[in-house]
C-alpha cells in the first residue's frame, strides 16, 4: 500500500469521528503545551538571572580571601563569616602592574547606621577606591564621585545610593554637600548613584554608602586587609590568562607553592554564569519532567481509544484483509492514525503553549512591570514534535499490531 493511500485512509477514518479524535488528542495537547510553557518559563527565568549577572560587567575577576572549597556549589570560607586577612595592599599594587589586568578595585564592607537630622537608617557601606566605579559600571546621577586624592588623603566624603538619598533627604532636598554621619563619623555627600537595584553579591545598590577605602579601613573597621578585590581584565587579553596571572602573582606574594593550599579564591564572571546556568537548567529540566507525566497520561489515552477503535472496526479489518491487505498494511494504517493523532495534538499543543507564554509575558510586563525576557526555545518546539510523534508510535504500536494480527475469517464474522 502506498503511503499516500495509507495516509488518506487514516485521515478519513479520523475525520469520521471528529469529536472522538479531538478528545483523544486533548491529552497530548495539554501535555505538550505544559512542557512548552514550563520550558519557556524556565528559559526566561534563566535569561533574566544571567542577564542580571552579566550587567555587572563581562570581564570581571573576583578575588576573595580564603581557600576555594571543592564543591562547585559552596562558597569560600570568607563569605561564611570567617575573618581571613590574606588579601593585602601589596597584592593590589602587584596586580596594578600586571598588563593583562586593566583595573583593580579592592573593597571592604561593613554595616552601619547612617544619620541625617532625625533620619536614621542601618545600611551596608563599602570602602572603595575610584576604580570601583569603573569595574562595577556605577554611574553618578547627581554630583560626582570622590577623587583619587580623596582616597589618598582619607577625606570624609561619601557617594550614596538613590533610595538611601530619598530616605534621608526626601524628594525635595538636594543631598549634595550635606553632611551625614556614618558610625558617628561625619561625611560630606559628594554624589548620588544614578540607579539602585541589586549589584554584585546581592548588594542593594540603592541603599549603599560608598566611602574612600582608606577612611573605611582605618576609621570605621580598623583593619588593613580587604574583603574582596575586583579586577577587570584587559580586553586585549583572554580573561583566563588574566586569571592565571593573578593566581601566579598572589601565590608568589603569599609564598604558596602547593596549589592546593591557596588562601584566596578567584572567580570569573564566566564561572558564576556557568554555575547559575547549571542551576537554572536543572530547574527547567525538572519542571519539564513533571510536565511530561501528563504526556504519558495522554499517550495512554490514545492507546485506549485506538484499542477500542480496533475492536469496533474488526469487520473493516476483515474486509480489508479479504481483498488483499497484508498484516503490515493494517498495522501501518492504525499506526499512522495514532501518530497522526499525537502529531496534530503536538502541533496544537505547541501553538497553545506559545499563546499562553505570550500571555504570561504580557501580564508580567504590563501589570507587574517585571523585566521578563520573552523566550520561546526552538529546542522545546523540536522536542514537542519529536515526543508527540514518538509517543504516537509507542502507544499506537500495540493496538496496531493487534489489528494486523486479526484472522480475516474471525474478523469478518465479528458481530
Amino acid at each position: 500500500m502506498l503511503y499516500k493511500d495509507a495516509f488518506k485512509t487514516a485521515t478519513r477514518s479520523l475525520t469520521h469521528g471528529k469529536m472522538r479524535s479531538i478528545l483523544t488528542m486533548l491529552g497530548i495537547v495539554i501535555g505538550i503545551a505544559s512542557v512548552i510553557i514550563l520550558m519557556s518559563i524556565g528559559q526566561s527565568a534563566q535569561n533574566l538571572i544571567l542577564g542580571q549577572v552579566q550587567s555587572i560587567g563581562s570581564n570581571l575577576i573576583i578575588i576573595m580571601p580564603g581557600a576555594p572549597t571543592n564543591g562547585k556549589f559552596s562558597s569560600p570560607a570568607s563569605s561564611q563569616g570567617i575573618i581571613i586577612t590574606s588579601l593585602q595592599q601589596r597584592d593590589v599594587d602587584d596586580l596594578q602592574r600586571e598588563p593583562s589586568v586593566m583595573a583593580v578595585a579592592p573593597e571592604v564592607r561593613g554595616q552601619a547606621s547612617v544619620v541625617y537630622g532625625n533620619n536614621n537608617v542601618s545600611v551596608g557601606y563599602a570602602g572603595a577606591t575610584t576604580d570601583l566605579f569603573e569595574v562595577s559600571n556605577l554611574t553618578i546621577g547627581k554630583g560626582q564621585k570622590f577623587s583619587k586624592s580623596d582616597v589618598d588623603s582619607a577625606n570624609h566624603v561619601a557617594v550614596i545610593g538613590p533610595d538611601l538619598a530619598n530616605t534621608l533627604f526626601g524628594p525635595s532636598l538636594n543631598p549634595i554637600d550635606k553632611t551625614i554621619r556614618v558610625k558617628n563619623i561625619s561625611f560630606r555627600v559628594v554624589g548620588v548613584l544614578s540607579k539602585g537595584g541589586t549589584g554584585a553579591f546581592g548588594v542593594d545598590m540603592g541603599n549603599l554608602v560608598i566611602l574612600p577605602i582608606t577612611v573605611a579601613q582605618k576609621q570605621l573597621l580598623g583593619m588593613n586587609y580587604f574583603n574582596v578585590i575586583i579586577a577587570k581584565a584587559n580586553p586585549n587579553y583572554d580573561i583566563n590568562f588574566a586569571k592565571s596571572r593573578i593566581t601566579f602573582s598572589l601565590r608568589q606574594n603569599h609564598g604558596i607553592t602547593d596549589p592546593n593550599k591557596d588562601d584566596f579564591t578567584i572567580q570569573t564572571q564566566a564561572d558564576i554564569l556557568s554555575l547559575l546556568g547549571n542551576i537554572t537548567s536543572i530547574l527547567t529540566i525538572f519542571l519539564a519532567a513533571i510536565a511530561s507525566i501528563s504526556l504519558v497520561v495522554g499517550g495512554i489515552g490514545i492507546m485506549n481509544i485506538m484499542l477500542v477503535s480496533v475492536t469496533e472496526r474488526t469487520r473493516e479489518i476483515g474486509l480489508r484483509k479479504a481483498v488483499g491487505a497484508t498484516n503490515n498494511d493494517i498495522l501501518q494504517q492504525f499506526l499512522i492514525e495514532s501518530v497522526l493523532l499525537t502529531f496534530v495534538g503536538g502541533v496544537i499543543g505547541i501553538l497553545m503553549g506559545a499563546i499562553i507564554v505570550i500571555l504570561i509575558y504580557f501580564v508580567l510586563s504590563t501589570f507587574f512591570s517585571i523585566g521578563w525576557v520573552f523566550a520561546f526555545p526552538i529546542s522545546a518546539v523540536v522536542m514537542g514534535l519529536v515526543v508527540s510523534g514518538v509517543s504516537g508510535i509507542a502507544f499506537g504500536i500495540y493496538p496496531a499490531r493487534k489489528a494486523g494480527k486479526k484472522n480475516p475469517i474471525d474478523a469478518l464474522r465479528y458481530e
Binding site: 499516500k4 478519513r12 474486509l319 480489508r320 479479504a322 481483498v323 488483499g324 491487505a325 497484508t326 480475516p408
Partner: protein
Amino acid sequence: MIEVNNLKKEYLEEDVTTKALRGVTFSIEQGEFVSIMGPSGSGKSTLLHILSFLDRPTGGSYKFQGKSIDDMTDRELAHVRNSDMGFVFQSFNLLSRLTVYDNVEIPLLYSEIPSAKRKNLVEEAIKSVGLEDKIYTEAARLSGGQKQRVAIARALVTDPNVIFADEPTGNLDSQSGLQVMEIFEALNKKGRTVILVTHETQTAEFANRIIRIKDGVVESDKAIIANQHHRNNLK
C-alpha cells in the same frame, strides 16, 4: 484451476474437536459456474473460506492455479486474494461511511496498479453493475440490492479470474436477488469462474454445476443445464 484432494478442516475449541470438512475432493476448471450447496453446518462455508484463501486447511491438499496453499506465506495468500480473487459476502461488508467510489477502490489500494489507472477501473466496475448514478453516494444510503451490486463491483475491480460469493442473495428480496444473480451469470459468460455458496435451490440453479456438501463430505457433484423455468418463476 482449483484442485482439492481429501481436504480436511478441524477446529479445536475448548478441547472439543469439530470436524467441519472430513475429506473433500473435486476440481473446478477455469470458466465454470459452480454452486456449493448444503444445509447449515454442512461445512460449505468453511470450504469456501479455504478455497478463497481466507483460511487454511488442516489436512489434504489444495492447489490454486497449480500452486499449493501449503507452500504460500500469508503475505502471498493476501497477494493472490487481491489480484486473482473477488469476494461477495452475504452481509455486503461495505464501509458504510465511504462513498460507492471509495468502497470499490479499496482492493486497488492494496494492489500494484498505479494510481493513475485506478479511477478508470473503479468507474468501469461501477458501470458494469449499473450504479454510475450513485458513484458518490455514501454506501449507508443504498438499498440492499444496490449494496450487493457495489460489493460485486468491488470484487470485479482488480479483474480477478475467480469470484467467490457466500450467500450473495441471502439478505436480498427476490427481485434484487435476481438482478445480482444475472450479474454473476453475465460475468461467467465473459469467462470468469464463479463459485457460489447457497442453500437456495433457485439461486444454485443459475450455475452449470452443483456440488452438494453434507456432514463435511461431498454428497453429490452434478453438471446441470441452467433452467430458464426457475428464472421465469423468480421474475
